[in-house]
Amino acid sequence: GKPVEQAAPATPAAPRAAKATYTIGMSQCNLGEPWRVQMNADIKAAAEPHPELKVVFKDAQNDTLRQRAHVEEFVSAGVDLIIISPKEAQPLTEPVAKAYQSGIPVIVLDRAVLGDQYTCFIAADNRKIGKAAGEWIKQALGGKGKVVELKGLMTSTPGQDRHAGFLEGIAGSGIEVVFEADMKWLEPDARKEMESALARFDAIDLVYAHNDPGAHGAYLAAKAAGRDSSIRFVGIDALPQEGVAYVAQGILAASFQYPTGGQEAIATALQILKGEPVPKQIVLGSRLFTKASVAAGGEDLP
């Protein structure tokens, strides 16, 4: 990732006296998605070499009110730093601000909260990644073709951004989205929707799915219909065991990494705990994995 320095207001928390151990409270909004499991794993892995760090993980099971309770519990337990990957911006803004004002540094990961009452926000940009995917597809198809879009849960912001970015990316080309459906991030649903698309359209050039399991489900449907060789599949997330693996196996044409930021969060946390200044926002870069670049560990997106 490429940290982007910003003119950020000073943290109210003064540099603290060095302690033997620091407790970090980590509230994950939902562990039902592999990507978030990976985020926790990344945080854990990054914290492991630092024996002075103790990370307490909590899972809000996709429930905003539970996550709000997490923050309150962390404050009352007196943790040294809070990392939160919020489910919602609006409802978590206030609890996070309260924690921040009580002197506990807060790192917000992946999804934002409103205002500026936190220490640092670390995230990738879904819209940018969606746009990159759109542009890549435009180029791969030579500017025209029939595309199926399998969308993530469209009530979620990542789904909305990956969709909007994609439309931006293919804007002005001859690419036609012939079939779009909400597969709610789920592989079996993606396979079902793809089967319907296959039944309706004899010519499909490419499938753009909002996550790699979705692309994989679409691939399985096409394979069962004997049409997998004439269709290319593009996904997002590029987790090592999913998207990257599919690209390496030649199932997906491309996968766009959506970094978890786990590593960066711990690095930033260490800085904060040592009293060093940190930027207010860190925008993570993305990597593109294709057949050509997968062996080399992908290529940075511009």
Binding site: L31, D59, T64, E73, A77, E88, Q90, P91, L153, T155
Partner: protein
């Protein structure tokens, strides 16, 4: 009648023992079991802090409101699977009215309640008048209300970030009614949502234990044919139970929207199972005709505290699910009753 004499003769120990054998006693045993877990695993004393208990009550208030309405339906031998979706629909509508359209609470709250009552009424119509099985009628309403919530919100959260015609975002203030619901009263001790829950619960208790309608619900759940032949308004009473459940879901939806400061079309998924579990863990039978709100209150506290204890101990997801399963079963086993 001899029972007064018997009781007098039994002595204190005997009466305690007898009480422990009663449904209420058994339910309390289950709650005690869960609290015991909290005392043993107190998470460095967090369990002994007043704030923890206040938060536990606040967190469980929305479920509790649903469970209170659910009890009325379950007593008739029915079930209402739609409450979670109705909650979402109402939260979306309420947020749209107050945040986007700038309605005052005096207009928005009644309309939100009306929406909940209409959803409940539709289920009630299907169950009471058209005699559709409650499980399937409310399952249909569950899908329908969720679809309406997504439709009404355009699939987006209804928050204070309002999109203008030109696509730019404008931030509006959080409505006063949201702030009013999401604070604490009585010397900063009681969350307003908990007070709302207490009022809802009290109303439901009055209706079920002290009003004629409650009798009718029990009679319908116990023997619908006998109730009909005794001249009870079976269709009307049943219909009203579902309307009440929809109303309570609407209240829960308003509380949810206020606490989240937005209307979320995905809110409340799975809450119906939690609310039903609260009613049943209390000891009310899904066969209808037995149980009551006293038991439901114990069930609400049992499950509410279970969640809180697992949460303050930061039990990981897998362990939490397993423990929830085991403890619910253990709680119910202290009651040992079934169909």
């Amino acid at each position: 009648m001899t029972d007064d004499r018997d009781t007098a003769a039994m002595g204190f120990a005997g009466r305690v023992f007898r009480w422990l054998g009663s449904p209420t006693g058994r339910a309390c045993l289950a709650l005690a079991l869960v609290l015991l877990v909290g005392f043993v695993f107190h998470a460095d004393g967090a369990f002994y802090k007043a704030g923890t208990h206040r938060d536990a009550l606040r967190q469980t208030s929305v479920y509790g409101i649903l469970a209170a309405g659910m009890t009325l339906v379950i007593v008739t031998g029915g079930i209402d699977l739609a409450v979670g979706s109705v909650l979402a629909l109402v939260s979306v509508c309420f947020a749209t009215l107050t945040i986007h359209w700038g309605w005052s609470a005096w207009a928005a709250v009644p309309l939100a309640l009306l929406i909940g009552a209409l959803c409940g009424g539709a289920s009630g119509l299907a169950v009471a008048s058209w005699r559709v099985q409650p499980f399937i009628a409310t399952l249909a309403m569950m899908a329908l209300a969720r679809g309406l919530a997504k439709y009404a919100s355009g699939g987006m959260k209804v928050s204070t970030a309002v999109q203008e015609v030109d696509g730019a975002y404008r931030y509006v203030a959080v409505p006063a009614v949201f702030r009013a619901i999401d604070t604490r009263i009585l010397g900063d001790n009681v969350p307003v949502v908990t007070a709302i829950f207490a009022v809802c619960f009290g109303l439901a208790w009055l209706a079920l234990a002290r009003h004629r309608w409650g009798r009718q619900l029990y009679a319908i759940g116990g023997n619908e044919e006998a109730a009909r032949l005794s001249g009870l308004p079976v269709v009307g009473a049943k219909f009203a139970a579902y309307v009440a459940s929809g109303l309570f879901a609407a209240v829960a939806g308003i509380c949810q929207a206020a606490q989240e400061q937005q209307g979320d079309p995905e809110a409340g998924a799975g809450y119906e199972l939690l609310a039903i579990a609260m009613v049943v863990v209390g000891g009310t039978s899904l066969m209808g005709g037995r149980g009551g709100l006293g038991l439901t209150l114990i069930g609400i506290l049992t499950i509410g505290y279970l969640e809180k204890i697992l949460s303050i101990n930061a039990v990981p997801e897998a362990g939490r699910l397993m423990l929830t399963g085991v403890i619910i079963l253990a709680a119910v086993l202290t009651q040992k009753r079934g169909r």
